[in-house]
């Protein structure tokens, strides 16, 4: 039997606000335990939360970027459960009336665009962290992260494969980074993902029983965990068993998912409206003000790049993955006046260098100005594409311009016909047999002659001129 997976993702994105969601403590990562806490985020008796307006601005911006309806009236709710890293015994979250409802993001799958629907996006506070390592006979709690603002982005069960899930995550990350509300770092936990996965026989309408997967801290792990879980559930059904409704943890080192808790042990969170906060009313003016600050989003940029610069759609997609890369490309394209060349160099050499250094476009040591300078030299015929490879290596890690490198190393292309003709004559004189063979019909030998001429000129001869002259002289 053929099975079809049905997947929905719940993504937690940590907002880049300077202070926490309900108090003035800093959100900086990696400080000493409990150094960034106050009576409010520690949950001392009698303290009250006050909503950080920037966190609201950020979620509204996200909602607008993801085509959601921003609720004119939303409110917070308490999610009650006991855990040492949750100082109040409840998390302030949203339940019945989230800030954003509906919406969608589009992903590219096998050259097709697919729309993944969103159920909602809501605002909540993060919990702290329990520390167990290196402490004998006790556990400690670090509440620095308590109260850091999170957005939970809940998708509809529209995703049909692990690769779609990973693609959806990449797209969310791209949008969040474009609008600058989340740094999108999965390894540091500023972007986290839980997946609801079920399978059903192809053609059936009803959903199968789903398992919730947790603990996937990279795009690769999201994909692997879901792939594993799909196979596991199909195997359970094929064996005549039933998939259990449960929460499962992804074990990265073993590459499997493991049951964490079943339906019976599921928490009853006893949600109810948070009485310490008043409902949030988002006026049209507030929304419009935020819409006015919205940058061009990845999809729009990608379409524009194809249209304006005439580059292939795939290139445009890669180049718009991050705002910094897109900006980099666009300056290089404009400054060089050769958008296709610019795309080729960035897609190839620049991204290869960045990837090997594990760096992002904003950290690229080669500014778009210097890259464009090199491309101009190619376009104007000063250097050949081949020489440009050498120039690129020289300028990438240095502060030198392509002009400087070309002058320093004497890499200027030889286009003077007399000089090239002289080299050709010398080559022909040295290889009379080959000349003979060429003239009797072995025209493939042209490659040999080109190679010899290039060798004689130290690779500097203009290949077009070399070809033209050779053909004339050999004829």
């Amino acid at each position: 039997m053929q099975y079809e997976p049905v997947i929905g993702l719940e993504v937690h994105a940590q907002l880049k606000t300077a202070s926490k969601i309900f108090c003035g403590c800093s959100t900086k990562f990696g400080r000493g335990p409990n150094s960034q806490t106050c009576q409010v985020c520690i949950g001392m008796p009698g303290v009250l939360p006050v909503l950080n307006k920037t966190a609201m601005d950020f979620i509204i911006k996200t909602g607008l970027a993801m085509n959601c309806t921003v609720a004119p009236y939303s409110r917070f709710a308490r999610k009650n459960y006991f855990y040492p890293d949750l100082p109040k015994g409840y998390q302030i979250s949203q339940y019945e009336l989230p800030v954003c409802q509906g919406g969608y993001v589009e992903i590219a799958i096998d050259g097709e665009t697919k729309r993944i629907g969103l159920t909602r996006i809501h605002l909540e506070e993060d919990a702290g962290k329990n520390l167990h390592e290196g402490i004998e006979g006790a556990s400690h709690v670090d509440l620095n992260r308590t109260g850091v603002p999170l957005m939970e982005i809940v998708s509809e069960p529209d995703i049909r494969s692990a690769s779609e899930a990973a693609e959806y995550m990449r797209k969310l990350r791209a949008i969040l980074r474009y609008i600058d509300v989340c740094d999108g770092n999965m390894e540091e936990g500023s972007l986290r993902c839980d997946a609801n996965v079920s399978v059903r026989p192809v053609g059936r309408k009803e959903f199968g029983t789903r398992a919730e997967l947790k603990n996937m801290n990279s795009f690769k792990n999201v994909q692997k965990a879901i792939e594993y879980e799909i196979k596991r559930q199909i195997a359970v059904i094929e064996d005549g068993g039933k998939v259990a409704q449960e929460t499962r943890l992804w074990d990265t080192s073993r590459g499997i998912t493991l049951s964490m808790r079943g339906k019976e042990e599921a928490h009853d969170y006893r949600y109810f409206p948070e009485p310490d906060l008043v409902p949030v009313e988002v006026s049209k003016e507030w929304q419009d003000g935020i819409r006015a600050t919205m940058p061009e989003l990845p999809d729009a940029k990608r379409e524009r790049f194809v249209r304006e610069y005439g580059i292939p759609d795939y290139d445009a997609m890669v180049l718009t993955e991050s705002r910094a890369l897109a900006d980099y490309y666009e300056s290089a394209a404009k400054l060089s006046g050769a958008p296709k060349q610019a795309s080729n160099w960035i897609m190839g050499d620049v991204l290869r260098e960045l990837k090997s250094a594990g760096a992002e476009a904003e950290q690229c040591p080669l500014e778009p100005e210097r890259l464009a300078g090199m491309i101009k030299l190619i376009e104007s015929g000063v250097i050949s594409g081949k020489i440009a490879k050498t120039v690129f290596e020289e300028i990438y890690g240095s502060k030198k311009t392509a002009d400087e490198v070309v002058k320093e190393k004497g890499l200027v292309q030889i286009t003077d016909e007399g000089e090239i003709a002289k080299a050709i004559d010398e080559v022909m004189a040295a290889n009379p047999q080959n000349v003979e063979q060429y003239r009797t019909g072995k025209v493939a030998l042209i490659g040999f002659f080109v190679g010899q001429v290039m060798k004689k000129t130290g690779g500097k001869a203009n290949p077009g001129v070399v070809n033209d002259l050779l053909r004339k002289k050999l004829a």
Partner: protein, 491 residues
């Protein structure tokens, strides 16, 4: 009269005229506390060092030259604070084992505002544990006695504050009121207590019982004192999102303007002879006559959903409490049980040993009401009824300016009389609870004494943020009678 017997406004007059120093006032009260506190047990913590320090500061301000009217309103006035308001560096226990040694590193907004007004702290007063109760018998640290009859309860949960004011152990006090916890003890002790409009006084630093109902208010010797205290503690606070950003009037400004033509409503659901103690009923009827004689127009009104108030309240208040009290888990501060096997065992033991029986009862009730499968039938339904109750008052206030009711169906009952029957205890708040559900202001002031010399309280209710009219009516009535001048017969 001795200093400790004076009202706050008389004491203030003496202080600003420099007839006495702030230290004189402070010593008068500490002496008085020394005399009667052993019998009354109104305080959980006395702060003698802090008292001297603050009185000293007040005296320096008085010597500072900037004279009289410019002085903050409470300069040198000795006050008592209910022990559920956080006072920086001073134990705040909520009368619970759970917080027996809790010293807050921050100050509540209400007490910070008193401090800005120049007050002198005498101590923290006894209460029902976490403000849950109507008799102060739920305190983990002993019951407070009613100064009028030491065999009776002072009311609750702000019983310590009301008893301290009645016994002249302070010039005035702060209480908190979730379902009647300021008004009912004020009535039991023959003093004035005001629960302001929800949102009028910041709740920041008030240890939460039921967040949507809790409100801090003054307990005073007369109505003018109450207005002065309201001027000091009221107003918007950016630290409390539920505190209203509305103008704070000078509550003393129109206090003495009289009540000629004021429309007074008597809800027929509250004046049911067989539901109220005969003498309480009688006192109220006399009070109605007095109000009429002052020019008020009294008419019967209806509040049709009154019968649902207690049930609604005990679902909503306990639901919120079950969540508000979850933070007392032994992890960060407060009591932690010893000898636990694991985390769950630590939670269970800490909460079993740290909370008293009434608190546990309410946590369980609230947990149940919010549970999946019950939420719709209980919490949600109660919220809907709450809206109906609020609407009752909105409707009534289209026709009348204030509403009067008895504060409590009976005068102070005997110690231990209702401890075995929680339902009987809950019924002592039958007239006060709707007011918290509706969020409107309510004031209790003395309007009589029973044949065995126990005070009776009258409750005056007003529109949202219209404490001014409530205070004006209360003042007019008070000045026409002498109930507020009567003192309990303590030695």
């Amino acid at each position: 009269m001795e200093l400790h017997g004076l009202t706050l406004h008389k004491l203030r007059e003496l202080i600003i005229k420099k007839e006495i120093t702030a230290k004189d006032a402070a010593f008068a009260y500490t002496r008085r506390i020394g005399q009667v506190e052993p019998e009354v047990n109104a305080f959980l913590t006395l702060t003698p060092d802090k008292t001297i320090e603050m009185a000293d500061k007040a005296d320096k301000a008085l010597c500072g030259g900037q004279f009289d009217a410019g002085l903050p309103a409470l300069t040198g006035i000795p006050l008592a604070i209910k022990d559920n308001m956080c006072t920086k560096g001073i134990k705040t226990t909520c009368a619970s084992r759970m917080l027996e040694n809790f010293v807050p590193p921050y100050e509540s907004t209400a007490t910070a505002r008193l401090a800005a007004a120049g007050y002198v702290l005498l101590g923290k007063t006894n209460m029902d544990e976490f403000a849950m109760g109507s008799s102060t018998e739920n305190s983990a640290f002993g019951t407070t006695k009613n100064p009028w009859d030491l065999g009776r309860i002072p009311g609750g949960s702000s019983g310590g504050s009301a008893a301290a004011v009645a016994a002249d152990m302070c010039a005035a006090a702060l209480g908190s009121d979730t379902g009647g916890s300021i008004r009912q003890p004020a009535a039991c002790c023959g003093v004035v207590g005001l629960k302001p409009t929800y949102g009028r006084v910041s709740r920041y630093g008030l240890v939460a019982f039921a967040s949507s109902l809790d409100q801090i208010g003054p307990i005073t010797k007369d109505v003018e004192d109450c207005a002065i205290m309201m001027n000091a503690i009221g107003g918007h606070d950016p630290l409390d999102s539920t505190s209203a950003d509305v103008d704070l009037p000078d509550f003393t400004a129109n206090l003495k303007d009289g009540i000629k033509g004021l429309k007074v409503g008597m809800p027929k659901e509250y004046f049911v002879e067989d539901g109220i103690d005969k003498e309480v009923y009688g006192s109220l009827m006399e009070a109605v006559k007095t109000l009429k004689s002052l020019g008020a127009e009294v008419r019967e009104i209806t509040l049709p959903h009154s019968g649902y108030a207690i049930a609604t309240y005990y679902i909503l208040a306990t639901s919120e409490a079950s969540s508000n009290l979850a933070r007392y888990d032994g992890v960060k501060y407060g009591y932690r049980a010893t000898g636990h096997a694991d985390l769950l065992d630590m939670y269970k033991r800490t909460r079993s040993e740290g909370f008293g029986p009434e608190v546990k009862r309410r946590i369980m009730l609230g947990t149940y009401a919010l549970s999946s499968g019950y939420y719709e039938a209980y919490y949600k339904k109660a919220q809907q009824v709450r809206t109906l109750i609020k609407r009752d008052f909105d409707e009534a206030f289209k026709d009348v300016d204030i509403i009067i009711t008895p504060t409590s169906p009976t005068p102070a009952f005997r110690l231990g009389e209702k401890t075995a029957d929680p339902m009987q205890m809950y019924l002592s708040d039958i007239f006060t609870i709707s007011v918290n559900l509706a969020g409107i202001p309510g004031l209790s002031l003395p309007c009589g004494t029973t044949s065995n010399n126990l005070p009776v309280g009258m409750q005056i209710l007003g529109r949202h943020f219209d404490e001014e009219t409530v205070l004006r009516a209360a003042y007019a009535y008070e000045q026409a009678t002498d109930w507020h001048t009567r003192k309990p017969g303590l030695s």
